[in-house]
């Protein structure tokens, strides 16, 4: 096993009196691309925000998040600020709200270099042009002077990625980076993230509800439902032979695009995703699960070697 870039142990996130993430543990190996799959209410975004120390007021995290031997959850805000944008970077779903609308794109992209590397205005400006060229924004020099609203959605996301990669981070967390984009643009952005992460030897945590996106980018995958990681393993194994009934259901419910004759009916997962606080006790999936019985009133541990599953009755 490679050296871990991030080790999360027993992470819990509370929203008021409710617990939304129930003691999640995982390790991101250095240089690997890991996908975190989940629907609304699964806790995937809260997990990412907790790792980055960006939980909104009123939400609390406990457990530990180890990065180079130090626990990010115990760290003072001022120290976290030194890491964020430098060693740890994040790309968000909606670049229009993540970018500052009244600041020129070049200044925003160069900001991490000014803050973390002490670059002067001129040097940072020149590097901003290079960074925008690296994410393949045409007329990069001109675009550094543009404001975010003057860029297209895809270009904004490229600028966000340029900013995130400015200081060559160890860990890049991308939360639904392509959900708001068209498919052709999505393909370009995924290709770009892939290339940059590879070139920098960075570790990627890609958060999405879209299984095929993870299949295309990631070597490892974790599946979250109701605040638990229910399945984890090498992406090829998990998608070819999902063991948790929820993952199995997700894989079956996607209309296949690369098989010859689609059946007229899809195998759907029954029921709805419950609201936070309305998931059943024990296994959160048991009210929608065809295999559930009395044992599922207790949540099983995530167990296994490479390919782990948290289920009393895993799919063979």
């Amino acid at each position: 096993m490679r050296e871990p870039a991030l080790e999360v142990r027993d992470l819990r996130v509370r929203v008021g009196t409710l617990e939304a993430v129930h003691g999640v543990s995982f390790t991101l190996e250095r240089g690997l691309r890991t996908g975190l799959i989940g629907e609304s209410g699964s806790g995937k975004t809260l997990t990412a925000l907790a790792v980055m120390g960006l939980l909104p007021d009123g939400l609390g995290a406990s457990g530990s998040v180890l990065h180079e031997g130090r626990d990010l959850l115990q760290m003072a805000e001022i120290e976290l600020c030194r890491l964020r944008g430098d060693r740890l970077a994040m790309v968000f779903q909606e670049p229009m709200t993540a970018l500052n609308p009244v600041m020129r794109v070049g200044d925003q992209v160069a900001e991490p270099l000014r803050i973390h590397r002490g670059a002067g205005r001129g040097a940072a400006g020149r590097q901003a042009v290079q960074l925008l060229e690296r994410v393949q924004i045409p007329d990069a020099a001109e675009k550094t002077r543009a404001y975010p609203h003057q860029l297209s959605g895809g270009q904004r996301q490229r600028a966000m990625i340029a900013m995130a990669m400015a200081c060559s981070p160890d860990l890049l967390i991308a939360d639904e980076p392509t959900t708001a984009l068209d498919v052709t643009v999505q393909a370009q952005i995924l290709g770009l993230i892939n290339r940059l992460v590879e070139e920098e030897g960075a570790t990627l945590l890609l958060i999405t509800h879209d299984l095929p996106v993870v299949a295309q980018v990631c070597e490892q995958v974790m599946v979250m439902y109701g605040g638990y990681i229910v399945e984890e393993g090498p992406a090829a194994e998990v998608f070819d032979g999902p063991r948790h009934p929820y993952t199995r259901g997700l894989v079956d419910a996607i209309p296949p695009l690369d098989q010859d004759l689609p059946e007229r009916r899809l195998r759907a997962i029954p029921g709805n995703v419950p609201a936070l606080g309305e998931f059943p006790e024990g296994c959160p999936f048991r009210n929608r699960c065809p295999r559930a019985d009395w044992r599922c009133q207790v949540m099983p541990a995530l167990a296994g070697e490479q390919h782990k599953v948290a289920c009393w009755h895993p799919v063979a």
């Binding site: 095929p212 980018v217 009916r265 709805n272």
Partner: protein, 258 residues
């Protein structure tokens, strides 16, 4: 397999004037739908695919009569467009009036169009058809999840017994684990109510699953129109090919993208 033409769309264009950005220059216009021609046949299921800004939704609005064409004609060959053509939209939260009970929402078209019949019975049948418990009738939209709200919107669209159902991105706003249910429901209703379906989606796999024939739109124009099977096996327009190649699938693994 499909009957006579219900909609005859002939060289239709719809332009919008963009907001003025300068005092010196005239405001620019955007041609959202550009000389589109097609027929919709009774009983068929037609998919409309394209990216944002390609004119899919404007085309839907032209069919519904919510937009007037600047050029060309949209002709409905049935009896009453208002009753026989109904729509389901992407976001079931904004499509349902939060102050109305589900029963009133579903029966609103029946009331507005003064349709005859036993309303209680209609309501019971519709709830049953879309898979909602009978007790839902007295509840309000906020008490339901996204997938259930979409079921309410579908029940409302079915209430006046339409011949054509226009579904504009009906599953895009729903959780992945709920999408297949709604797609299956639309498929069942199509057969049960003998509906002609127009399904607008940016998701090619959804259209492939649901539709017999597909229009591919790009910048307001229909760049390719073909039977679904032929389109996916041998796309002719290069834009269609780009679109197909861009869609990630579970099997297309990393090798393809790097």
């Amino acid at each position: 397999m499909s009957g006579p033409a219900l909609f005859q769309v002939n060289g239709v264009s719809r332009r919008f004037r963009l907001p003025r950005t300068s005092f010196r220059h005239a405001p620019a216009t955007l041609t959202a739908v550009d000389r589109v021609t097609f027929e919709l046949h009774e009983g068929e299921s037609l998919g409309v695919v394209g990216e944002s800004g390609s004119g899919k939704t404007t085309l839907m609005r032209l069919l519904l009569g919510l937009e007037r064409p600047d050029e060309g004609t949209v002709e409905y060959r049935g009896a009453s467009l208002r009753r026989e053509v109904q729509a389901v939209f992407q976001d079931p939260v904004s499509a349902l009036d939060p102050r109305m009970r589900v029963a009133d929402i579903i029966l609103e078209p029946v009331r507005v169009l003064h349709l005859p019949g036993d309303r209680e019975k209609t309501l019971r049948e519709l709830l049953e058809a879309v898979g909602l418990p009978q007790g839902s009738a007295r509840r309000y939209p906020h008490e339901f999840s996204g997938g259930q709200r979409q079921r309410v919107a579908i029940a409302r669209a079915l209430a006046p017994r339409p011949r054509v159902l226009l579904a504009d991105e009906p599953v895009s706003a729903l959780d992945v684990s709920v999408r297949a249910q709604i797609l299956n429901l639309l498929q069942d209703l199509r057969e049960g109510y003998q509906l002609t379906l127009v399904l607008v989606s940016h998701d090619l796999s959804v259209v492939r699953q649901m539709c017999d024939r597909v229009l591919v739109m790009y910048r307001g124009q229909v760049v390719e129109a073909a039977e679904t099977r032929a389109l996916f096996r041998a796309p002719r327009h290069h834009y269609t090919r780009t679109l197909l190649d861009s869609v990630p699938t579970l099997r297309k693994r990393r090798a393809a993208s790097t």
